[in-house]
């Protein structure tokens, strides 16, 4: 159909004077009535034999062709009707050809022959004479040629095809091809992705060696006319919903260095937000709490459940993002968050072509300076003031509890054991050391990544193949870590006969990760030494996670060691080697699809995908690991006579915890595809109807070996019964609290089996190529009993319209408009809650280890609740697509409105009925927004090309309704994530901080402007309420803009991508001396209030002095830490990547058979600018708490690629 449209257009243009619009329209209407017959151009020629014919026909009856030739030349034809019945349909393209040649072409594939008799031509039945046969063979020839681009570079893998025959070849790495048995007059079509195809007629007398020059097809590069929904491939002009596609060229603009295929999508699709740090991905905002938030990911038509690292970015051909209901609801309940459809490469017929790509990447150690950790001296000062104000005293400690060494000195001074001078000297000695640089040196290294990709593809007429290998080796920035990934993939296609074709893909992935344990810096005091001069690990003051509950001090530790127990101190540097985690994941994915053509307009797909993922996680904790030593110590028994420890219940030695994970899922699908045109081709109905069955099963087993020896493979028995029971340690030397042993952390099993069966259908009706209507319907059934049967069969549907304006007659004069279409669609999507809930009472099972004999028990997981329903999202989308100025400027605009009802959330409940809260459909949330995409070719000359791509998404999220919640303390509002009606989902509220009063107490303003000193737990509770708080904004960006520029300058390609995220806010961590006890305080925290008058200089509350009028509770301090002064705009711009590619044109390389050779340099995240102050990086901060995380330095890579 498409081919025909093009040829008709060309014919019309030749025929008609361009300026005559009226005539053009009339003729156009006339011609339209003759669509399937014939279109020809008359040329007034001279006389008799020299008559020339110009004619284009596609599947036209011979009789009609002859009539047309008669009209053009005046020759008459003689034949019988019987003879004409034997004739085949004719497809020819003739342009000013002498009648003899024209007839040769027309009769080439006919069982008929002709002979001239003056002005009459006699048609007779063909008889194969010997002469004919000899002539036929003699006429055949061998054609060789070469395909090059405009600069003369050979194009490897270009397709060379003889039109009308089932013969095709691919060019080799030198761009050369050889075709045998070509007849004079045959037309070769030479095509290559991204270039305009060229047709070349082979004449018998011409040189049989040809050179074909292909021109880059800019419009084709910019536009991918077909979008894959996974179930079908839809022409863009038939789409009514919001969907966009990234083609191979755009996708490959950047090298996904670490092999994560999602990385390359950022900034290329409007409405898709990908966070490279957290790995979160969302389409058009989030409108759920409990249910699945990630978009559905579909690979080559089938959803994938296994690890996304199995998708090799080097194999990606296109990525389609389905954003609204009309595009996505064919996926049913899984599609609420949009769908990402990935198509991967298949082989191309031709000689084997090898692709090779190798990448090396480097990133320096993370930037610790950004963390603004307080130095030792400031930390010492804090300790002094803390003790001085009476906030800490020696009698707060048990005998065995560890103590900060500075405080210890201060307590000793208080007790008169040290003079002030002695104390100062001691403290100065402690505070003179800071461990941050040692910490960085001992735990971190530069990150290195290498990736190698090699594949080969080729094939013949009936089948193609692709075989690929990919290896990624990474040395992450934490010492002792390494990651390795290996992918092997195969893709084959088979055309068995005219009816059946088959397509197969298989991927095997092996993923291995290993790491030691990097002790968090917050575990340490800044003056804790990590190693001694010899590099031997030294103990930290406190235990793991800075805990002092199970931890014991040095004196008790010495006692413990003396009785024969393990050293129970925490050695952070030792932990790095004492803990080893190894993860190994093997995945296999295979999928096949058999297609059978039933009639010209109906075919059947039978297909399926099978995925199997097996993983093993090994966690080895040697007896040098803190967690092992204190557990064994606290479970030790005592020899009644000697008093020495007996390690009976839990033996000494290493722990090895092994977990195996398995995930098996399959999808089976049977689907009819129809595409029917009416006789006059005005009506087109296409659609699919199918049935699908899916099963996802996952399970895991965990087991542990105690007293494990990796060399002898010996492990020792343990007394789990006793270990599980709650007993205090026998040895008081290790403290009073026995560490808990929960056998579920060492032995466990999980099992999940989810099954779906679905019926779905989609239909598209096109009238006259101008008006498109679509509709889809899907019914999902599943074995999840979390849903009431009455909601189970709820159909999910969509409906849409598309008006292809550029096909309207009145648009024809506007030649600069190539594409213009207006789309509108609506639909209904569902989402399944991820937790177990339902109208029924559900119990979960656990083990009660409180008894001397452990018992299984059941308890209520979710109570009876008849009101439970699925979450539903109603979608509306209106969009406009355009292509202007020969498609040099293309783009789209979409406006959407999404309303999600019955959002799952926690509902506060009357505890008298048994539950303080339960899951229920509590809220309604709306998302509305605008998305636009502009792609323009700014400059296109042979030596210089400049393209700009802009994507922009504006999203506004609002909670429309939420079940009334009871009064909450202001602290819960400023720190919580509760929905508030009328505000966005991730709204942040803050105190209006009023600064410090003369006593140093932090205050907040209430709505009347009065200052309150909050106190939640004092005798007089002082709090502010919701109305007194300030709405600071939302942590979700409202605007996401990607600006991508690509330049081609001779042999160089240069591109860079800017990302802008804006309209959102973040909380930044306040300098707070109180963090010393729970967290690591920021630099500058020591500038707090100490004496009256300081309130004029500082806003930082100090340490309240116990029992004085200036005392304040920690609730008052929240007015400062969660005050509006520490909320900032989070808008930022990031130069996401800069890429420079050099296309090698070295003759040497060509000689040795290399083509398409490239060297590419890529820098990721080399620059960022935060509008509210560049000291904060919104990508490395918890926007709700303000806590910073270690920022990554720019990531540089060098890639070499070539074909041979």
């Amino acid at each position: 159909m498409k081919l025909f449209t093009q040829s008709r257009k060309i014919a019309l243009q030749t025929l008609l004077p361009k300026e005559n619009g009226q005539l053009k329209r009339i003729l156009r209407i006339m011609k339209l009535t003759a669509v399937l017959i014939l279109i020809a151009c008359l040329q007034v020629g001279a006389t008799t034999y020299a008559q020339k014919v110009t004619l284009k026909a596609h599947n036209v009856a011979l009789e009609n062709v002859l009539k047309e030739i008669k009209k053009q030349t005046g020759y008459t034809f003689l034949y019988s009707n019987e003879l004409m019945k034997k004739a085949n349909k004719v497809s020819v393209e003739l342009n000013n050809v002498v009648i003899k040649d024209a007839l040769n072409d027309v009769f080439k594939a006919q069982p008929l022959n002709y002979s001239f008799n003056e002005k009459t031509i006699l048609i007779i039945e063909k008889r194969a004479s010997i002469w004919d046969k000899v002539n036929d063979i003699l006429m055949r020839m061998r054609v060789q040629g070469k395909v090059v681009d405009s600069v003369g570079n050979p194009l490897a893998g270009a397709s060379v095809k003889i039109l009308g025959q089932n013969v095709s070849r691919s060019t080799n790495s030198n761009g050369e091809f050889i075709l045998e048995n070509v007849q004079s007059g045959d037309v070769l079509r030479i095509s290559y992705l991204g270039f305009q195809p060229v047709d070349r007629r082979i004449n018998g007398n011409e040189n049989k060696s040809i050179v074909v020059v292909l021109q880059r097809d800019i419009t084709q590069l910019q536009q991918v006319a077909v979008i894959s929904t996974g179930y079908q491939k839809v022409n863009k002009s038939q789409l009514t919903g919001a969907a966009s596609t990234i083609g191979e060229k755009d996708y490959n603009q950047r090298v996904a260095v670490t092999g994560n295929f999602l990385e390359n999508l950022e900034g290329k699709v409007p409405g898709l937000v990908y966070n490279g740090i957290s790995g979160e991905i969302s389409i058009r905002g989030v409108s759920t709490f409990d249910a699945v938030k990630r978009p559905l990911i579909v690979v080559d038509g089938f959803p994938t459940e296994i690890d996304l690292s199995t998708i090799n970015p080097n194999d990606v051909v296109s990525v389609s993002v389905l954003r609204d209901a009309a595009a996505a609801s064919i996926y049913g309940v899984q599609a609420s968050n949009g769908v990402i459809v990935v198509e991967t490469r298949r082989g191309k017929s031709g000689k084997p072509v090898f692709n090779f790509r190798s990448t090396f990447a480097f990133q320096s150690k993370p930037d610790f300076g950004y963390m603004k950790y307080m130095g030792s001296e400031e930390f010492v000062q804090l300790n002094r003031d803390y003790v001085k104000t009476g906030n800490d005293a020696s009698y707060f400690y048990d005998d065995y509890t560890p103590m900060d060494p500075v405080r210890k000195v201060l307590f000793d001074q208080e007790d008169g054991l040290l003079t002030e001078q002695q104390a100062n000297e001691k403290i100065a000695a402690i505070g003179s050391y800071n461990n941050l640089s040692d910490y960085k040196r001992l735990f971190y290294q530069n990150r290195l990544v290498k990736q190698i990709n090699l594949d080969v593809s080729g094939g013949g007429d009936k089948s193609t193949y692709l075989l690929g290998l990919n290896y990624v080796g990474e040395r992450p920035d934490e010492i002792r870590s390494k990651n390795n990934r290996f992918i092997l993939n195969v893709a084959n296609t088979y055309q068995f006969n005219k009816t059946f074709s088959f397509d197969f893909k298989g991927i095997y992935t092996k993923n291995q990760q290993e790491s030691g344990k990097t002790a968090p810096y917050a575990d340490l005091l800044p003056y804790d030494r990590l190693t001694d001069a010899n590099g031997t690990a030294l103990p930290a003051t406190f235990g793991e996670l800075k805990e002092s509950f199970y931890a014991i001090n040095a004196a008790y530790n010495a006692k413990a060691k003396a009785v024969g127990l393990y050293d129970q101190a925490y050695y952070p540097y030792e932990e790095l080697f004492a803990n080893t985690n190894k993860q190994s994941l093997n995945s296999f994915r295979g999928q096949g699809r058999l297609n059978a053509k039933i009639t010209s307009w109906l075919n059947l797909d039978l297909g399926g995908a099978y995925e199997n993922e097996q993983g093993v996680n090994d966690q080895l904790r040697t007896e040098k690991a803190y967690s092992v030593r204190y557990l064994i110590n606290s479970k030790a028994k005592k020899d009644p006579v000697k008093g020495t420890p007996l390690f009976i219940d839990l033996p000494k030695g290493d722990f090895l915890t092994k977990q195996t994970l398995r995930k098996v899922d399959y999808t089976l699908r049977g689907q009819f595809n129809a595409n029917y045109y009416s006789k006059d081709s005005k009506h087109n109905i296409s659609g699919i109807l199918g049935m699908e069955q899916r099963k996802t099963q996952s399970d895991s087993y965990k087991t542990t070996f105690f007293g494990y020896d990796g060399q002898s493979l010996i492990n020792k028995p343990v007394n789990l019964q006793v270990l599980n029971s709650t007993i205090t340690p026998v040895f008081p030397e290790v403290g009073s609290y026995g560490s808990r042993f929960n056998s579920a952390s060492y032995y466990s099993e999980t099992y999940d089996d989810r099954r779906f069966r679905s019926l779905y259908g989609q239909a598209t009706y096109v009238y006259d190529r101008r008006y498109v209507a679509t509709g889809s319907l899907r019914i999902d059934q599943s074995n999840l009993f979390g849903v009431d049967p009455k909601y189970k069969n709820k159909p999910l549907w969509s409906a849409g319209l598309n008006w292809v304006i550029n096909e309207e007659a009145f648009m024809k004069p506007l030649e600069w408009v190539n594409t213009l279409q207006l789309r509108a669609a609506t639909g209904f999507n569902g989402n399944v809650p991820s937790s177990f809930n339902g109208p029924f009472l559900l119990l979960n099972s656990r083990l009660n280890t409180m008894f001397s004999s452990t018992e299984l028990f059941y308890d209520v997981l979710s109570p009876e609740n008849q009101s439970i329903r699925w979450e539903t999202t109603h979608n509306y989308n209106v969009g406009l697509d355009y292509g202007l100025l020969d498609n040099r400027l293309t783009g789209s605009v979409d406006v959407y409105y999404k309303k999600t009802k019955d959002v799952f959330g926690i509902l506060s409940a009357d505890p008298t009925l048994g539950f303080n809260q339960y899951n229920a459909n509590t809220a309604a949330i709306e998302n509305k927004g605008l998305e636009l995409m502009i792609s323009s070719l700014n400059v296109a000359t042979s030596g210089f090309n400049w393209r700009t791509g802009l994507t922009a998404a504006f999203n506004k999220n609002k909670v429309l309704a939420v079940q009334p919640k009871d009064k909450t303390s202001s602290y819960d509002i400023v720190t919580g994530t509760d929905l508030q009606k009328g505000y966005p989902m991730n709204a942040v509220f803050s105190y209006k901080y009023a600064g410090l009063n003369a006593l140093g107490q932090p205050g907040v303003y209430d709505r009347n402007g009065d200052i309150k000193i909050m106190n939640t737990y004092g005798d007089a509770i002082v709090d502010v309420d919701f109305e007194d708080l300030k709405y600071s904004g939302t942590t979700t960006p409202k605007y996401v803009i990607g600006l991508n520029n690509q330049f081609t300058i001779g042999a160089f390609d240069f591109s860079f991508l800017f990302m802008y995220y804006g309209g959102h806010i973040m909380r930044v961590q306040a300098p707070n001396p109180d963090d010393m006890n729970y967290n690591f305080p920021l630099q500058g925290s020591a500038g707090y209030w100490k004496v009256k008058g300081d309130e004029l200089k500082t806003n930082i509350p100090g340490f309240p002095e116990y029992g004085t009028p200036g005392d304040f509770s920690y609730a008052a301090r929240y007015g400062y830490t969660y005050g509006d002064t520490f909320v900032r705009k989070a808008d930022y711009i990031r130069l996401r990547d800069v890429i420079l590619t050099y296309n090698l044109k070295n003759a040497m390389l060509k000689k040795i058979g290399l083509s398409n050779s490239q060297i590419r340099f890529q820098a990721q995240n080399p620059f960022k600018y935060t509008f509210s102050g560049n000291d904060v990086d919104p990508e490395f901060i918890d926007k709700r708490t303000g806590e910073r995380s270690l920022p990554q330095r720019p990531f540089y890579s060098l890639t070499l690629s070539t074909n041979f």
Binding site: Y395, D399, T499, A596, I598, T599, L604, L606, L668, G670, F672, M691, Q693, T726, I727, T728, T750, D752, D753, R755, R757, N783, L784, F785, L841, L842, L843, N844, S845, R846, N848, M850, F851, S852, E855, L856, F857, Y858, D859, V860, P863, E864, S867, A909, D910, P911, T912, L913, G914, F915, N916, Y918, K967, T968, D972, T1016, Y1017, G1018, D1019, S1113
Partner: protein, 444 residues
């Protein structure tokens, strides 16, 4: 023809997909829709239904000394100072109330459905039902000791009791408070039904037996002041096999078996708080009841710089019915019914195994009041930190036997709180969160 064949073939393939009906019938694992007797019985092993003693009822007793600062608003401190609101705020599940109504929910699930279970004999179903009824009665009883006035038969019909919940649908509204009498009647009638159907022995001491129900009834009757019935059910319960551990025969508390193997325990109940009563300090007043000859004073305590702490029990601490409690109940009932001989006989059974043999002398009483004083003193010693003290304080206060309880800061000597005789504080207020959801509910 060929095309027709394709159509038939494809239709067959599609049909074969849809025909396996069982495909969607597989139930997820790890989650249970209860339908068998064993499903309901397994609920009786849950933390919810075995950890039914609220630790707040330890902190508010005169057994305990707390070193909480005056501004401490933790639940323990709020209980210790008998504050109006015990909870941290009105968002959290309220202490005592939330915990026990959750127990009642689980019990109601069993009560409502177990008789309709798909399998199992009627006898087995009745046993499970009986146990659920007993656990529910115990929960209501504990709630009464916290949120209702001490039981007085004269006013019980007018005093406020508790909302009696039977629904298991969370979207319904809670019923209003019944009278103290009707709450108590429900407790007793349910316990009596349980006593009828419960088996004679069970798998461990957390699971109820007939004697356990009798022991519980004895406790309830004692609280009500119905001494004949208290003694009657204690006698019945004592018929169950048991033993008193002679502390003279063991060298340390390690000689006491882990709690659910302890022959002194009849029906074990644990607390929701893991650590109690380990390291809870003995109040000065409680210490006055002991002397050096009392082995309990050394066995069951640890000294440190803060004072005399309760030692960790072997296994999880028990707050349910014990045999020593039953002996003391009989002794008290006898003293109150002027049977001094029986009172002393029962009292001495306990004393003999707790006091150093060398120092032991059988206790005697000159008159019933004397006998009662001795018995009540022994109750302080034997049942310290066993969860009964708050209930005892309440019933003794009603009859004017409770002195003022004072909380002081030992360093400064400041009095931080006082629990005066007949104080309103003996009845805890209905928690704020419950009042919010039930604005019409009458408060104390």
């Amino acid at each position: 023809m060929k095309k027709i064949l394709y159509c038939i073939f494809s239709a067959l393939v599609l049909f074969s997909l849809s025909s396996c009906k069982d495909f969607l019938e597989v139930k997820p694992k790890g989650v249970i829709l209860p339908e068998k007797v064993s499903d309901y019985e397994s609920m009786l092993f849950s933390f919810t239904m075995t950890q039914t003693f609220p630790s707040a009822l330890l902190y508010c007793t005169d057994d305990f000394y707390g070193d909480y600062s005056a501004v401490d608003r933790s639940i323990a401190a709020n209980s210790y100072y008998w504050r109006e609101e015990l909870d941290l705020n009105d968002q959290v599940s309220p202490v005592i109330w939330g915990q026990l109504y959750r127990v009642i929910y689980d019990a109601n699930v069993i009560v409502k459905h177990v008789m309709a279970a798909k399998d199992g004999s009627t006898e087995k179903k009745k046993e499970v039902l009986a146990e659920a009824l007993l656990v529910r009665s115990d929960a209501y009883f504990t709630l009464l000791t916290a949120f209702a006035k001490a039981y007085d038969p004269a006013t019980a019909a007018n005093d406020l009791g508790l909302p009696l919940v039977s629904s298991t649908v969370v979207t319904e509204t809670a019923p209003g408070r019944s009278t103290l009498k009707s709450t108590m009647d429900t407790i007793i009638s349910n316990a009596l039904q349980a006593e009828k159907d419960l088996p004679l022995s069970s798998i461990n001491r957390y699971r109820a037996t007939k004697a356990g129900a009798q022991g519980f009834l004895s406790r309830v009757y004692l609280y009500m002041g119905d001494y004949p019935n208290a003694a009657k059910y204690a006698d019945l319960a004592l018929k169950a096999s048991h033993a008193l551990i002679d502390y003279n025969a063991i060298s340390s508390k390690n000689g006491i078996p882990i709690s659910d193997l302890n022959p002194e325990i009849l029906w074990q109940r644990a607390s929701e708080e893991y650590g109690v009563p380990t390291f809870m300090l003995y109040s000065d007043q409680l210490k006055t009841f002991f002397n050096a000859n009392d082995i309990r004073y050394t066995f069951l305590t640890v000294s440190n710089s803060k004072g005399l702490n309760r030692a960790a029990p072997p296994g999880r601490a028990n707050f349910g019915v014990t045999f020593p409690e039953l002996y003391l109940t009989i002794a008290e009932a006898a003293a109150r019914t002027e049977n001094i001989g029986r009172a002393m006989e029962m009292l001495n059974k306990i004393r003999k195994v707790r006091i150093k043999t060398a120092a032991y002398q059988a206790a005697t009483a000159a008159n019933p009041e004397d006998a009662l004083t001795l018995v009540l003193a022994e109750r302080r010693r034997e049942l310290a930190y066993s969860g009964l003290r708050w209930m005892d304080m309440k019933r003794l206060d009603k009859e004017g036997r409770m002195p003022e309880v004072i909380r002081t800061n030992k360093q400064t000597g400041t009095v931080l709180a006082t629990l005066k005789p007949h104080s309103k504080m003996y009845t805890l207020q209905i928690p704020a969160r419950v009042r919010q959801f039930n604005p019409k509910m009458e408060i104390n």
